[in-house]
Symmetry: none
Subunit: 252 residues, 2 copies
Amino acid sequence: MEYTVKQLADLSGVSARTLRYYDQIDLLKPSYMTDKRYRIYKEEQVDRLQQILFFRSLDFSLTKIKQVMDSKNYSELEALEQQQKLLLIQKNHLDSLLTNIQKTIEHYKGEKIMTDSEKFAAFKENAIKDNEKKYGDEIRKNYGVETVYQANKKYRNLTKEQFTKMNNIEKQLIDDLNILSENPELDSELSQKIYLEHKEWLEYSWPNYSKKAHRELVQMYVNDGRFAKYYDDKAGKPVTELLKKVVEHFTE
Amino acid sequence: MEYTVKQLADLSGVSARTLRYYDQIDLLKPSYMTDKRYRIYKEEQVDRLQQILFFRSLDFSLTKIKQVMDSKNYSELEALEQQQKLLLIQKNHLDSLLTNIQKTIEHYKGEKIMTDSEKFAAFKENAIKDNEKKYGDEIRKNYGVETVYQANKKYRNLTKEQFTKMNNIEKQLIDDLNILSENPELDSELSQKIYLEHKEWLEYSWPNYSKKAHRELVQMYVNDGRFAKYYDDKAGKPVTELLKKVVEHFTE
DNA sequence: AATAAAGATTGACGCAACGTCAAGGTCAAG
DNA sequence: CTTGACCTTGACGTTGCGTCAATCTTTATT
């Protein structure tokens, strides 16, 4: 059985353009070309396309699909699990967005509306002060914290003092991580200090601390690039992985 | 208070490029331009930017943000509820993907899993062979592999064949690096071979290969003594720096 | 057989939201 | 007067195609 582009398109539900594109990126090549350069597909290609569409339906990138399908020894299972991780991260992200948007909507409806400028007012105060002192870095830090502040509703009940204290602990944490990274010894006092600092920091926003949750959290840090980036940027070098190791060391 | 592009960028945490882009699409115009066409922002724009970033954090498109903010009679509440619906749809979609992928994974697992201990055994088999052939320092080499093996959970779902293949690729890579280091010519076939080997090796554990990430990784190798030591020990001489140069050469 | 309709081909631009150079002006500091 | 930091405007790259446009080839109808 042979198929032209349109026939295969109709058969599979994708567009002809898609098939030409897949040919172009070497994801799905026709069985052969006629002398007039028409693409002809056969059963083998139909099968392959089905596979492709299966992975695509799971939101695999075309690049990844190619890797998985073209490499004999690439484990499909592993690819699936990687993809699952990615999707879980996306889901977490979506969930937090939904929480935020729900809160915002409630605010509006409750007519206890904080104007947006009010929401940012406290932060701006800091920004302006800092700016006048020309400590550019500090501004960025505060802004970073502000982002977290928005994302995490739990911060909302902190007093100003607590908030400041959290910031200081975090700062110290980053510094210590920086130092430790030069001589990464998990069994050191510095290492333990880091663990305790991170724990203390967490306890400002966690209802009840558990080692298990702590371990899972740092695992998330590493898996989710946004967390890693947050810490790595602050430290000026990659320290997230180190933090993870430290925490895992003391939570066993 | 007046801000240049950089200052506002630092203050807000977005890039200068983003500000220029927002100007370009008329989302955030500067307060005025100097005679030299420098953008100058004032408080009003800072406020507006904060509004923008707030909506952006909820995954509003920039187009939508513009609509909401520029239209006097466009209800923010309505927009929020609309966005909430969109996010819920996405969430449902994600949930169904996750269900599907979970099912598929279970299906796979029902059939062919290599347990960690089995993999470890396979690895040791090789190690012993090598040990018989080569001698003491081979043992150290294999301990190195063991460390990496433990450190990277991603390896855990590789099949026996894949695991072996990865090891072989890495071995070949080291050998090639050794050869190249005697006559370091970045524009050679050997050099390219090394690049491709390292890439292939990475793709066993990376969800998405990109040249950018590849460059960053080898930069890491050099910066982080632990990585460098790993390769240098295996090669018997310092080759990490060379690997970095090779990769950078082919990822430009 | 002539003609029209259907389907095929290869470009090439467009989209979203910027990242990342490149080439070249401007400004404050030393 | 020279750095060096910061500013400007292009313009290409990214992902997965949709959507013309211009130009054959094949098939169907008259």
